[in-house]
């Protein structure tokens, strides 16, 4: 039931609208009457290419120092300083004197190097010689010591021989040795 009146209302309103439309048309007439005013002019947004817009307003230009850029971001690397007002390109050396000066410099440098090399070689050679002498002396000393030891042993043996018996005894010692040998032989055949 409630829906019906609702549905009926729009229809009624629709009829009302048709009635109202007339006054609107009359209103438009009114506006036409007021046409004495200057016709509305279209206001266009200014194109971007407009000369007035294209004119750059002067902005503040920052120097590189002011920007506080990190060093690597700068256009010229650190250390490369382009000298201003200097001619670009290579500097050739073609005059006699220029070449001679460079040559003299190079020669002096090379000779210094060679001299130092020779000096170092001589020093090393001296050290080597000294070491060689030292080792030789040490070896001779060792040899001497050994000889002394040998001599002392020999002398001891001699002294032993002297103290126990005379030369005759030493002579008798030989037969002893031979007897020892014979003993050895005897040992070898002992099982027989």
């Amino acid at each position: 039931m409630a829906a019906k009146p609702g549905s009926a209302k729009p229809k009624a309103s629709g009829s009302k609208d048709s009635n109202k439309s007339k006054p609107i048309s009359s209103a438009s007439k009114v506006s036409k009457k007021g046409g004495k005013r200057p016709p509305p002019q279209e206001v266009k947004a200014k194109a971007r290419t407009e000369s007035t817009l294209l004119k750059k307003t002067k902005k503040r230009e920052y120097t590189e120092a002011e920007l506080d850029l990190p060093k690597l971001n700068a256009i010229t690397p650190v250390g490369v300083v382009k000298p201003k007002g200097k001619k670009k390109g290579k500097v050739f050396v073609d005059d006699d004197e220029g070449m001679a000066t460079i040559l003299a410099m190079v020669n002096a440098e090379k000779e210094g190097q060679i001299e130092s090399k020779l000096q170092r070689a001589r020093q090393l050679e001296e050290i080597r010689e000294a070491k060689k002498k030292e080792t030789e002396a040490r070896q001779a000393k060792k040899k001497n010591k050994l000889e002394e030891a040998k001599d002392s042993i020999r002398q001891k043996r001699k002294r032993k021989g002297d103290s126990s018996q005379d030369k005759a005894d030493t002579a008798a010692a030989k037969p002893n040795e031979s007897s020892a040998k014979s003993k050895g032989k005897r040992k070898s055949v002992s099982f027989a």
């Binding site: 290579k90 500097v91 050739f92 050396v93 073609d94 006699d96 220029g98 070449m99 001679a100 460079i102 040559l103 410099m105 190079v106 020669n107 440098e109 090379k110 000779e111 060679i114 090399k117 020779l118 070689a121 050679e125």
Partner: protein, 185 residues
């Protein structure tokens, strides 16, 4: 073709001074004609040594058509170092600071690109330091190449026969071995 810059001249002279003594001065001063002196010129990356008059004449030839002129001394590497060619031997040999003479049986091994061993050594200059540039000659005093000393002369005397005395840098065998690349740019 152009003149050498200061840096290039220095690099070149440093290399040449490895092998030559004070008489290197004669390279740029000797000339019969006072108006005509010897100069170095760079073409591509190669350095040529020639008379000034010849260098001036060469300006008439387009750069692309010019293959070589004068004596090729060597070439600049891409890293800016200078590498001497065997063709420079005739220039440096008369001014050599240190010389090494080799026995006839050592000539062939050297000219095939080998280093010089103690057994092939005939004699060498006195006071030869280590790592110095030497010019290698045969027993008839004909220059065969150049190299770098591996040992000083004092040490070399005590070494065994197979020990290397001179490291080869260039030898005249390259004229055959490097025939294809020696004169091309």
């Amino acid at each position: 073709m152009r003149q050498l810059t200061e840096q290039e001249t220095k690099t070149l002279f440093e290399k040449l001074a490895n092998y030559t003594g004070r008489s290197l001065n004669n390279l740029i001063t000797t000339s019969e004609d006072p108006n005509d002196r010897y100069v170095f010129r760079l073409h591509g990356n190669r350095v040529y040594y020639m008379r000034m008059s010849l260098a001036n004449l060469s300006t008439a030839i387009p750069r692309t058509n010019l293959l070589s002129l004068g004596t090729c001394i060597g070439k600049f590497t891409k890293s800016g170092q200078f590498r001497m060619h065997i063709t420079a031997l005739d220039v440096i040999a008369p001014h050599a600071r240190y010389k090494v003479w080799i026995k006839p049986n050592g000539e062939m091994p050297f000219m095939y690109g080998g280093n010089i061993v103690r057994a092939h050594l005939q004699k060498f200059s006195e006071d030869l330091p280590e790592h110095a540039g030497v010019v290698v000659l045969n027993s008839n005093d004909t220059p065969l190449g150049f190299g770098i000393s591996a040992r000083s002369s004092q040490e070399a005397r005590k070494l065994d026969p197979t020990a290397v005395i001179v490291f080869r840098q260039g030898d005249i065998g390259e004229y055959l071995r490097e025939e294809d690349t020696l004169f091309t740019t």
